[in-house]
Symmetry: C2
Subunit: 337 residues, 2 copies
């Protein structure tokens, strides 16, 4: 298996991202095709005593899509960017999956333009995987690809989320919930009410409305469906809520001898906790609904996060993500899956 | 000062809510007018060695608005409910403020129908106050009164939030941020983009877009403006993010001797942390934009939370909330305040 890695668009320098690719390649027996500035990649490879070959190869690209560039403009204008060259190589079958820590909007638009969408899906969605208290992950779709959704888009997210949960993660009967501000059908905005009506009468395993404050402690469903604006605020607020508590704990621990001693005893636990909820562990979020395996890594991704995103990508490619999604979607649409 | 307290609509029994009113009355020298079943209130008063008089008085009401009742229907149909009788008493000047832990939608609709709106505001908004790492609160409006907002409604929330921050909380130059999924003007959905354009050219102290994951750790602004659906998901996700971390810590502490010892040493700190971020401390959220001081307490409010909500209400009444809001809104609208 060969994974394309965009080493240009992230917040961290290319050599940090190349390092992540090298670690992933070595540890998991994957071939990595780095897309970006050839010289920088070659230098990073030799720093780690590696050189171009079958395991680590290079696809040169001279342009970078910046984090704040308007997506459509960037995709149209920068044909020699690591993003577009990588996506074209994916389309041409030079690799099995594409990982980018770049401008999310540009990755979404570039993927739609370059790869096209799978049958039945008008808007691809980004699926995030969040660790819960029980240890099992909960999936959230969409977390930022679409910010002005119609009800049918939420239904498509539900279809793709259900199929991903069942066919890629092998959860036999995944439950779908609609993120809302109350559990009754009448609660929430017009978008949610209409999506509820459609989902309710669909063959999907729909469990109704769910609220943000029970998701990680109770894990009432396997897949959470929402508009991309709401989903993005949701995951960032979760991150912020946990950052506040860990920050306050750290502050209090340093304040007294008693606190310092207690903190010292609890250090291994706090460290493992931090690792468990860190965005690094999350790795990357697949963009579902385009013709190809595309995984979006966090813009702040370091080598460890890139390794995580590459694992997500290789698993999705292993499971033959897009065939499974198409099969799942048409199955649920036709006969109730 | 006299505060009306609805003791019928909450999740907890009336006598728990009466207890909260008694504590608030005693500790803060307030008169409490309890609205609800007369006999139950009388019994709860005598349990605490109190009786009807000037300090604690009763406004009998025979009906209860349930948590899941459709708001408009409940408000129209239940004229003898504690909610409607309380709001009418507020309108008639029998008290200075009204506190209810009941059905949020019904409180909003009932307040608009009974009290009317203040000049210049088409949609009232609920303002929540969230503790941050620095200790200073950050205000969020709207957290659930309106779920399908137009750009002008967000602008009204900004006006009311700014005025509340300046004129009630006495923050001299409150900064306003728009909750979005990126900081650039072009980010987010249509609603936010249009609201950004209006706010940008308004005399309000507008600081631009802000993201959910820096709000409590960085506190970049004093007031966060958002649609009520997004705001409600936002505060519930913050709560959930912190609940996950405290839950995982508790779990880990109990697992080993070392953890137990560390936990014991850190117990006072963990307790004060829990108190600091608990929804009890938040007390109540004022409904801004109606003609009268209305404070919505959490449905799960116990006596302590009710005391907190009553304090919020008495401060708002003390500051002459509505006059200040009207003055602030017309000032900013006319001359740049």
């Amino acid at each position: 298996m060969r994974i394309l890695l965009d080493v240009m668009g992230g917040d961290l320098p290319s050599r940090e991202l190349v390092k992540g690719g090298i670690i992933a390649g070595r540890r998991h027996g994957l071939n990595i095709l780095f897309v970006g500035d050839q010289k920088t990649i070659q230098e990073a490879l030799s720093e780690h005593n590696e050189r171009e070959g079958d395991r680590f190869s290079i696809l040169p690209a001279s342009q970078t899509v910046g984090m704040d560039e308007p997506p459509v403009q960037a995709v149209r204008g920068k044909r020699d960017s690591s993003l577009i060259k990588g996506l074209i190589a994916l389309r041409e079958g030079e690799a099995d999956a594409f990982v980018s820590p770049g401008n999310t909007g540009a990755v979404v638009v570039g993927s739609i333009f370059t790869l096209g969408r799978i049958a039945g899906i008008t808007r691809p969605g980004i699926l995030a995987s969040i660790p819960t208290v029980s240890g099992r992950e909960i999936l959230v779709i969409d977390v930022g690809a679409n910010v002005d959704c119609a009800p049918k888009h939420l239904v498509h997210f539900a279809l793709m989320g259900a199929s991903y949960a069942r066919d890629v993660l092998e959860i036999p009967h995944p439950k779908i919930g609609l993120l809302n501000i109350g559990t009754e059908k009448s609660k929430g905005n017009k978008l949610n009410y209409r999506a509820f009506e459609i989902l309710e009468s669909s063959p999907l395993p729909f469990a109704g409305n769910i609220e943000a404050h029970h998701l990680l402690t109770g894990r009432p469903v396997d897949v959470v469906v929402c508009d991309g604006f709401v989903g993005n605020v949701f995951i960032k607020a979760l991150e912020e809520g946990s950052a506040v508590v860990t920050g306050l704990i750290k502050g209090s621990i340093q304040k007294s001898f008693r606190g310092k001693l207690g903190g010292l005893l609890l250090r291994p636990m706090l460290t493992s906790l931090r690792e468990r909820i860190s965005s690094r562990r999350l790795g990357g979020a697949p963009l579902l609904g385009v013709n190809g395996v595309v995984v979006i890594a966090h813009g702040r991704s370091d080598a460890e996060a890139i390794e995580g995103a590459i694992i997500v990508a290789s698993r999705a490619a292993d499971a033959d993500l897009n065939k499974q999604l198409e099969r799942g979607i048409s199955g649920w649409s036709k006969n109730g899956g």
